[in-house]
């Protein structure tokens, strides 16, 4: 299998996968919080929708710049190809962009006091956008699984993993901003603090399934590609960065923070989650394209 070619997607695509997942995760969290109790979780919903739009804005630009012929970016929307996660992802990005823009716009109008009963339409946009948000967070993993690259082709949980990373990084970003907002939002941190911990558990489980499915695939090319991660030149980033410092440590700290209701510990946890979430995606992209 030494004759396969690599797409050589650059570092910027890792950044896109990170930001797209974060945007989708933050949006989903804002929507769930607003469904449960929009007034009680007001700051979570506000910050969530603003974060989703802010993280989303660079995404289409990154994708267009990366194309071999950027002026043909609209060709992505000439075809609706269910066999191609990239095609479906392009459509999901479009759908999510509309929802993220509207949700942030409605939030802004409410903030400015210009909104006259936008709650219902905002909820509709939130629910539709959450569907797109899930898709945007997960599809890059499914996209990688549908290639011939040895590390990715035998992995079954990359979509699930990327979605969980989107949720954990989305929750962590909202938590950091709420903490930075100080007393005004202090009573709202608890929800995202718990969310971060739950998403981290799913993230670690999906990482285990990823390693397990490649390891047990029986494909020599795939297991040797996996060794690049587990004891090759990416081992330090994988075990030390993505797993220990980026997933397990914040899970432990997050549980402690949950018990002690500590803002400082939650801020540290959130920072580690962001670093870890990026490293998970970076190291899988880098090791898969060698």
């Amino acid at each position: 299998m030494g004759l396969l070619q690599s797409p050589h997607w650059p570092f910027l695509i890792d950044v896109y996968f990170f930001l797209g997942g974060l945007a989708g995760g933050a949006f989903v969290i804002a929507t769930v919080a607003s469904i449960l109790n929009a007034r009680r979780h007001r700051e979570v919903v506000r910050v969530g929708y603003y974060v989703a739009l802010a993280a989303l804005i660079p995404c289409p630009l990154i994708l267009i710049v990366d194309l071999g012929v950027p002026s043909r970016f609209l060709n992505m929307l000439m075809r609706f190809n269910v066999d191609s996660p990239m095609s479906m992802g392009a459509w999901a990005l479009l759908g999510f962009s509309v929802c993220a823009f509207l949700a942030a716009l409605f939030t802004l109008l409410e903030d400015l006091g210009r909104a006259r009963d936008l709650a219902r339409v905002k909820l509709v946009v939130g629910v539709i956008g959450a569907g797109f948000g899930f898709f945007l967070a997960a599809y890059p993993g499914v996209l990688l699984g549908a290639t011939a690259r040895p590390l990715w082709i035998e992995s079954r949980s990359l979509g699930a993993l990327f979605l969980a990373v989107g949720a954990s990084t989305g929750a962590a970003t909202i938590a950091l901003i709420l903490i930075a907002m100080g007393r005004r939002a202090a009573d709202q941190v608890a929800g995202v603090r718990a969310m971060t911990v739950l998403a981290l558990i799913i993230q670690i489980a999906a990482l285990a399934v990823f390693v397990g499915s490649v390891q047990s695939s029986g494909s020599a090319a795939s297991t040797s590609a996996l060794r690049l991660l587990t004891d090759g030149r990416f081992a330090a980033v994988f075990w030390g960065g993505a797993i220990a410092v980026g997933s397990v440590l914040p899970l432990v700290l997050g549980l402690v923070a949950l018990k002690k209701r500590s803002f400082g510990l939650t801020a540290l946890t959130s920072l580690l989650v962001l670093i870890g979430g990026f490293l998970v995606k970076y190291v899988i992209m880098a090791a898969g394209q060698v």
Partner: protein, 258 residues
């Protein structure tokens, strides 16, 4: 669809002259490669945006019927798979199947996302930095639509590369395998001739004198898109867990009832 066209590369007849490689470059106006010292006759090892036909020179110890070292030659090319990973992966529709069953990249539509490069089980599709698009063997799309065979098949002096209707070529290939087996080439086998086999059969199929892996070919290549259903189901499961997690996290936690 018209009757499926195919190329049959009989590696037992290949003499390694690379006339196919040169004819391909001439017809398709492809540039030269920088020579690559590999320690064998293999001069540059991969398909590139400038090499759509590539002769492989393989030494297999004990590969000959009498136990001597076998020097295997194989003119490799895009397989024009019946179930093509590159074609499925293409988000723009630039990669399409012609009425002859071949797989072609429309250079005016491709926007250079490189997903097809990663989706080819054979490492055929290559990215062209100059044009910013994906490139590969077109089965000489212009020639076959004007009643000519592919340039490589035309140039081959030993009929190692044969062009014709797929069903006829498969029948001929099967006879050739039997003949080689009676001559003592016990590992002689067809690769990709069976349309019920992997990837729905290859429209450029091969007769090999040894196992596919000896030639660097995957023994049973998998269509990458077969994974989409399972991966998506697990993603939905993950989404459900995240959704339930969010409900648990925000239910009765944080904020004050106003």
């Amino acid at each position: 669809m018209a009757r499926t066209l195919a190329m049959f590369t009989d590696t037992s007849l290949c003499i390694g002259c690379r006339a196919c490689q040169v004819a391909c470059k001439q017809w398709n106006e492809l540039g030269a490669e920088v020579p690559d010292w590999t320690g064998t006759y293999q001069n540059h090892t991969h398909f590139t945006d400038k090499t759509f036909r590539l002769v492989r020179f393989i030494e297999e110890p004990g590969g000959k019927p009498n136990g001597d070292l076998a020097w295997l030659l194989m003119s490799d090319v895009c397989k024009h798979c019946a179930d093509a990973g590159c074609l499925n992966a293409c988000p723009t529709g630039a990669i399409y199947r012609t009425e002859h069953g071949t797989v072609h990249i429309n250079q005016d539509v491709c926007n250079g996302c490189r997903y097809c490069v990663s989706a080819c089980p054979f490492g055929v599709v290559s990215f062209n930095e100059q044009t910013g698009t994906a490139s590969k063997c077109s089965f000489c799309n212009d020639r076959i639509h004007n009643g000519l065979g592919p340039a490589c098949a035309k140039a081959c002096p030993t009929e190692s590369i044969q062009f014709g209707f797929r069903d006829e070529l498969v029948a001929r290939a099967q006879q050739r395998v039997e003949a080689l087996k009676t001559m003592g080439f016990k590992n002689a086998q067809l690769y990709g001739a069976d349309s019920r086999g992997f990837l729905g059969g290859l429209n450029a199929f091969f007769l090999l004198l040894s196992r596919p892996s000896v030639y660097g070919l995957p023994e049973s290549p998998k269509l990458p898109q077969k994974n989409i259903v399972m991966d998506s189901l697990l993603s939905v499961g993950s989404a459900l867990l995240v959704g339930i997690g969010a409900l648990v996290a925000f239910r009765g936690r944080g904020g004050k009832e106003q």
